[in-house]
């Protein structure tokens, strides 16, 4: 009766004030604006999307596929028949590129996304419970970091004990799983320390004092609040996964023929740089485009999410044009 009446008109006025003047801009809008302002990042995004589209529908523009041999054009340079030329065996490089790019992007996206998700849940849980749980989980994490990933990849993909494994799964999926196991630890540690600082924030304490169960606090309060870091880590993780795939395939322990990936194509063509240069340069260029575009995007995303970034508002340009 007393204060309520006194407050309401002001609140109404305030609302009019807020809505009338667009004081409040959605955070996502700000992030999008900042991202779009960074021309390099936008270019990166366009290149990446274009490559992805190419890898999925590029197959419709040619009659060849990755296993079909053209006996009349063996080791041919790029022509209208074979856009990127053919290999020593007469297989169309364009068809191989479509397939290889798709496999590489697929591995990158799956590994990048899933590993960051695993890292987020693992890191947040560690930070939330602290104490003994944290110690045990941290030990497991460090043990994984110590493990020689290269050897495990080699053993897993080359048969070794897992012969049946290899038959059941396509080689790209096997590689994805192995990469996943070894790619989330660094991020998890980073997220652990970030969450620890979040834990000391009052809203987590408030939830605890309200009696909200632990898993709900982790999922509802901690994970969303490190969202911007997660987005950055996903793009970084995708790049890392693509590079890892290329590396492993290049040294012959990743994707196995007949499966094709950018790494396999580059690895297979190293001996033919002089004789069939297109076999080497075309997949290499594709790889550069792929990782390069991601790096460019990452830069823009970091600027967009970083609240202390020097990215000034749109006002800057306006001012210049008027004065």
């Amino acid at each position: 009766m007393t204060n309520l009446n006194a407050v309401d008109p002001a609140a109404v006025a305030e609302e009019a004030h807020l809505e009338g003047h667009e004081v409040v801009i959605n955070k996502s809008t700000i992030i999008l604006r900042r991202f779009l302002r960074n021309k390099t990042a936008v270019a990166g995004l366009i290149v990446f999307v274009a490559l992805t589209i190419f890898s999925f529908i590029g197959g419709f523009f040619t009659e060849w596929d990755k296993s079909k041999i053209d006996p009349f054009s063996i080791g041919m340079a790029p022509s209208s028949d074979h856009f990127f030329g053919t290999s020593q065996a007469g297989i169309d490089l364009y068809a191989q590129m479509v397939e290889g790019t798709r496999v590489s992007i697929l591995i990158g996206l799956v590994v990048g996304l899933v590993s960051v998700l695993v890292a987020a849940v693992y890191g947040c849980t560690m930070a939330y419970f602290g104490g003994k749980v944290d110690k045990v989980m941290l030990f497991f994490l460090e043990a994984l970091i110590m493990m020689p990933a290269l050897l495990v990849v080699a053993v897993a993909t080359n048969g070794g004990g897992g012969g049946s494994f290899k038959q059941a799964l396509p080689s790209w999926l096997l590689l994805t799983i192995v990469l996943l196991v070894f790619s989330w630890m660094g991020t998890a540690r980073l997220i652990r320390s970030m969450s620890m600082s979040l834990m000391s924030r009052d809203f987590v304490k408030a939830a605890q004092f309200m009696g909200v169960p632990a898993r709900r606090i982790v999922w509802r309060h901690l994970v969303p609040n490190i969202g911007s870091l997660l987005v950055l880590d996903i793009t970084r993780g995708v790049t890392a996964a693509i590079l890892a795939e290329v590396t492993f395939s290049f040294i012959g322990i990743g994707i196995k023929v007949p499966d094709v990936s950018l790494g396999v194509l580059i690895g297979g063509a190293t001996s033919q740089v002089q004789t069939y240069p297109w076999m080497f340069w075309v997949p290499l260029g594709a790889m550069f485009l792929l990782t390069g575009s991601l790096a460019m995007m990452n830069d823009g995303l970091r600027d967009a999410f970083d609240p202390s970034s020097s990215s000034v508002g749109k006002a800057k340009k306006k001012k210049k044009s008027t004065s």
């Binding site: 204060n3 924030r201 000034v312």
Partner: protein, 756 residues
């Protein structure tokens, strides 16, 4: 290079000579009083300063036309809420704004233009002619260099020819000047070995190292405790006396500047709205905003129970140029004439230097009742008001609660080197409808006490009883769940306490979902809560960052009330808010307590707020209660020397009172818990102890004073004879009415800034 340096030697000497000589000073003063002084007399003269920033929303016009003249040796207080452009003004003067900021106008230092100088050219002035003391002493010193090193650095930059020995001697002299004991040895100390107050002293020492003409202090005491604040203000004044510098004091606290400023500039929305001599502003304000600010501050020295004056709404958005008076949307007196054109600063009739930017300035004389203008709500009366305390139910009881932390040392093999007694045997109870406040400096264990209560764990040392549930008897999850329904908490920082990714609806729904409430019930309850705390119910879909600080704190209060608790724990509920907003939240808390029959347990360092809202108060020092009792009794008749010192350290927004008040300045800081004294905790800083004869001192040193009811002191016996019931006041001191050590008493009665 040569162009800039050549005029300097010819100019700097005569001006400083004039400033120092008494003749020059009085001339300046006479002109100032007559309002005729030319800008040439002023050391610093700012004209039409404008600062613009670019943001996502557009150009923010943060400072819009600030004018002032600062005369040598004078103190100018710039007062305003956060976002009013005070700090930006000071940064613009210092040339410390980022390059993206657009600064126009003119800043003349001794007649030389500072705006537009390159960073390199500014370096010649910064630290030499212009010096600055920043708000946060913890981050303004470099942690990897010794304090001495940093003072010497300040000297080296501007006196490259000074010898090493001379610089060291000067550094020690400076440290001694700001009151740091054994300055020579302390030169080798690192910043982390100093407490916050000591670091702020070091900052002041660095600032005055080169005898600056202008010292800008940007909220120099906001981050400090009241007792330390009193010390630092004292040092600042001393530094001003020593160097004869003019001081610009930027603050939001009207109390701080009341005692030390000569002139006040009130800023609102980037514009000065009232300017004048300190007495004019405090006793004869002409701008409704100034009146509101003065009425919004609770007073520690007055027990009168009236509601505070809330200034509704929030400051305007400076992206859009106000078409009318910028305060009009919040002003209760605003009429149509206020909406056409921004009123300029105009002279108030009857006073030479007093200016106000209000069209109604002439009509608002000194006899206007501010409570009427701002429609201060009536004081709410609780249902429990008539019931005596003993007959009310106990909501919370603490019995001998202790929290000791072991202090470990060693990297590999940890060994215990001591105990930190954060909370040491606390007992108190809170009855229904009562507000119990715990006050004390930081480090006294207030917050630890709250956390101990919120933890509610079986293994705690001591017993916590909440609404009849004891932590000893049944600390299973069911009891805990029931306890969470009885008690909720409101946090200090309203921004940190709300998850930025939750809408208000989600924030308020969380405790309700947790209690297993149905969806439609939740919705109904949330609407109810929003109305209860004075927010628009249709704001539930907004995010916390779309609200102002005061509104966020209202959301925090609504969340605490969601499950209908009996007891609400308030951890510094208003300390993060601006004064005008603070008044609204305090009024809301008062109203809720009366309407819902709530009990509050409040932790606060602002004694004025405590006096306003609390029924009972406990003063804590080093984990122990040193004095507890009914708020009026403790504040009007403090018995423990610590309480006396604490109360005397609080600045009052009344220049007359401030000038004539005797202050007890406590020596030093809280002792580290490691070398806590064995007898009375307070012995190291106690002004009574210092004045005691040797024979009596022994008692303080060896025995621990118990918390006792008022005993056979003569004054108390007299009072007790008058009242039939036992007085609600207990304290822990052997010599409650002992004389104070003269050296710790400071009075400015004779050296008042306006003494003729």
């Amino acid at each position: 290079m040569s162009r800039e340096t050549s005029p300097e030697p010819s100019e700097s000497l005569p001006v400083s000579a004039v400033a120092a000589s008494p003749v020059g000073r009085s001339t300046a003063e006479r002109l100032h009083v007559a309002g005729l002084h030319a800008p040439g007399d002023a050391v610093l003269s700012v004209r039409d300063l404008n600062v613009r920033f670019n943001s996502e929303n557009g150009v923010v016009h943060a400072v819009r036309g600030v004018d002032f003249d600062l005369l040598p040796g004078k103190t100018l207080g710039i007062v305003g809420e956060s976002g009013s452009g005070k700090s930006v003004t000071s940064m613009a003067i210092m040339g410390l704004l980022p390059e993206t900021a657009e600064v126009n106008g003119s800043v003349l230092l001794k007649g030389k233009e500072l705006l537009g100088l390159s960073d390199k050219a500014m370096c010649k002035y910064r630290g030499k002619e212009l010096a600055m003391v920043f708000q946060d002493p913890l981050s303004s010193l470099t942690p990897v260099y010794t304090v001495g090193n940093q003072i010497v650095e300040a000297l080296t930059v501007h006196n490259p020819t000074m010898s090493k020995q001379a610089k060291e001697v000067r550094a020690a002299e400076l440290l001694g000047m700001v009151g740091i004991p054994s300055p020579k040895d302390r030169l080798k100390a690192f910043p982390h070995e100093f407490s916050g107050g000591m670091r702020q002293r070091v900052m002041i020492a660095i600032a005055i190292a080169n005898n600056p003409r202008v010292l800008i202090a940007d909220e120099p005491t906001t981050a400090l405790d009241v007792t330390i604040q009193a010390q630092v203000l004292e040092v600042l004044q001393k530094a001003q006396d020593e160097t004869g510098a003019a001081v610009v004091m930027i603050t939001h606290d009207l109390g701080v500047v009341a005692g030390i400023a000569d002139d006040i500039l009130v800023m609102y929305a980037g514009k000065p709205v009232e300017a004048g001599v300190v007495d004019d502003i405090y006793y004869n304000p002409r701008m409704p905003y100034t009146m509101g600010l003065l009425g919004a501050v609770p007073r520690v020295d007055i027990s009168e129970k009236s509601s505070l004056i809330p200034i509704e709404g929030m400051p305007p958005n400076l992206v859009h140029t106000p078409t009318g008076c910028s305060f009009a949307p919040r002003c209760p007196l605003a009429g149509p004439e206020c909406l056409t054109g921004e009123p300029p600063l105009r002279k108030v009739p009857g006073s030479s230097a007093h200016q106000a930017a209000c069209v109604k300035a002439e009509a608002l004389g000194g006899d206007v009742d501010v409570h009427d203008i701002f429609h201060a709500p009536p004081v709410p009366v609780s249902n429990f008001a008539g019931i005596p305390r003993e007959d009310r139910k106990t909501v919370l009881e603490l019995r001998d609660v202790k929290k000791h932390f072991p202090l470990m040392k060693g990297a590999l093999l940890k060994r215990r080197i001591g105990t930190v007694k954060a909370v040491d045997g606390l007992s108190f109870d809170i009855r229904e409808g009562e507000c119990f406040a715990i006050v004390g400096e930081s480090g006294s264990g207030k917050t630890t006490t709250l956390l101990e209560i919120m933890e509610f764990h079986k293994d705690q040392d001591g017993e916590v009883v909440i609404g009849g549930l004891s932590n000893k008897e049944a600390a299973d999850s069911k009891t805990k769940f029931a306890m969470r329904k009885e008690m909720q908490m409101v946090f200090q920082d309203p921004t940190g306490a709300l998850d930025p990714r939750f809408t208000v609806y989600e924030v308020l729904a969380e405790p309700l979902v947790n209690q297993g409430m149905g969806k439609s019930d939740i919705k109904k309850r949330i609407m109810e809560l929003m109305r209860l705390v004075g927010l628009q119910p249709d704001h539930v879909n907004r995010f916390p960052n779309q609200f102002s600080g005061g509104q966020r704190q209202r959301i925090g209060i609504a969340r605490a009330l969601a499950v209908n608790p009996k007891l609400v724990v308030l951890d510094e509920p208003v300390s993060a808010l601006d004064v005008s907003v603070q008044a609204g939240v305090i009024n809301l808390l008062d109203k809720l307590r009366a309407e819902l029959g709530l009990s509050y347990l409040m932790v606060a360092h602002d004694l004025a707020v405590v006096r306003h809202i609390s029924d009972r108060v406990a003063v804590m020092y080093l984990g122990k209660i040193v004095e507890v009792g009914e708020v009026g009794r403790v504040f009007d008749n403090p018995r423990h020397p610590y309480t006396r010192a604490l109360l005397s350290a609080i600045p009052v927004p009344d220049p007359e009172v401030e000038r004539n008040r005797e202050r007890i300045i406590l020596e030093g800081d809280l002792p580290t818990p490691l070398d806590a004294p064995t007898g009375c905790n307070f012995v190291t800083r106690c002004p009574v102890y210092a004045a005691l004869p040797e024979a009596k001192k022994q008692k303080c040193l060896t025995e621990e004073p118990p918390l006792e009811m008022i005993s056979a002191s003569r004054a108390a016996a007299q009072l007790e004879a008058e009242t039939s019931t036992a007085l609600d006041q207990r304290f822990a001191c052997f010599f409650p009415d002992g004389d104070l050590d003269q050296s710790s008493l400071v009075s400015h009665a004779s050296a008042g800034p306006h003494a003729p």
